[in-house]
């Protein structure tokens, strides 16, 4: 456990069609990439869940199940993972409202309204940039290697 490893600094991008089949592709791809930081199983599951939430939001809300491209980037640096999930869809009019637990704009689709709450809970930082008609970009950061920083 105390074994010293060379510092990992790495980056990747994924761009894929806004199709629900790609939700599992995105989370599995990100998890495979992040694995080089030796995350715990729990951390990996949390990362997969967050990727799934953000990509699902892009598909359902950003593109409203229509055509579009979702961009996922992942940067690994000094034991930290920075992830962005971006769409060029319709954007979110009221981000404060959207981030409320159990809020959903699509109750008829049996959405739980827990996407942002899960992202906030499983990550150490979250930042949402959005504008109606322009799209939404979610940036999250998770500290994987330094427990003293991770507990804030």
């Amino acid at each position: 456990m105390a074994e010293m490893k060379p510092e990992i600094n790495n980056y990747m991008e994924l761009k894929f069609a806004s199709r629900s089949e790609n939700e599992s592709f995105a989370r599995v791809a990100v998890a495979a990439f992040v694995s080089q930081l030796d995350p715990t199983m729990e951390q990996l599951t949390e990362i997969k869940t967050v990727v799934s939430e953000a990509v699902t939001n892009a598909i359902i809300h950003g593109y409203e199940n229509g055509e579009g491209l979702v961009l996922v980037t992942c940067r690994l640096q000094e034991g930290t993972m920075e992830l962005t999930i971006e769409d060029q869809g319709r954007g979110i009019e009221d981000i404060e409202e959207a981030r409320q637990p159990l809020f959903t704009s699509k109750p008829e689709l049996e959405r739980s309204g827990m996407g942002f709450t899960i992202m906030e809970n499983f990550m150490d930082e979250i930042e949402v940039s959005t504008a109606p008609g322009t799209g939404t970009r979610v940036r999250v950061v998770k500290y994987l290697k330094n427990p003293s920083v991770a507990r804030h």
Binding site: S24, E42, T45
Partner: protein, 115 residues
């Protein structure tokens, strides 16, 4: 493909065993199949999550939807064999407060089918 649904019944109870990954993509399949089974007249529902390797908030939505239907018709719904990771999602959503969760299917059946 990425999600398998196995159903069984005992008395008035429908047992749904999920394996694989429950996300937005596979949620519709669960909804449709469980609804079709419930339409045959089962009152109670037990969902076994032992082999579920992944679930996100789309899964919470599907479970909540079934909970509403079952309880509105006077039935009971419970979950069993829910791993720690999934438990966190149920806790975050507040669904722990309304759903009965049991360690095993046997316990869930014993508690769900009887008064």
């Amino acid at each position: 493909m990425s999600l398998q649904i196995e159903t069984a019944t005992t008395g008035e109870t429908l047992i749904v065993r999920l394996s694989g990954e429950l996300d937005h993509h596979t949620a519709e399949q669960v909804r449709t199949q469980v609804e079709a089974e419930l339409d045959r007249g089962y009152v109670h529902l037990v969902v076994n999550m032992e082999s579920l390797s992944f679930m996100d908030s789309s899964g919470l939505g599907v479970m909540l939807g079934r909970y509403k239907r079952v309880t509105a018709a006077g039935g009971r719904m419970s979950l069993c064999a829910v791993n720690e990771q999934l438990m966190k999602l149920f806790e975050l959503s507040g669904m722990m407060k309304i759903l009965r969760i049991y360690p095993t299917e046997g316990q869930a059946l014993a508690e769900t089918g009887v008064a």
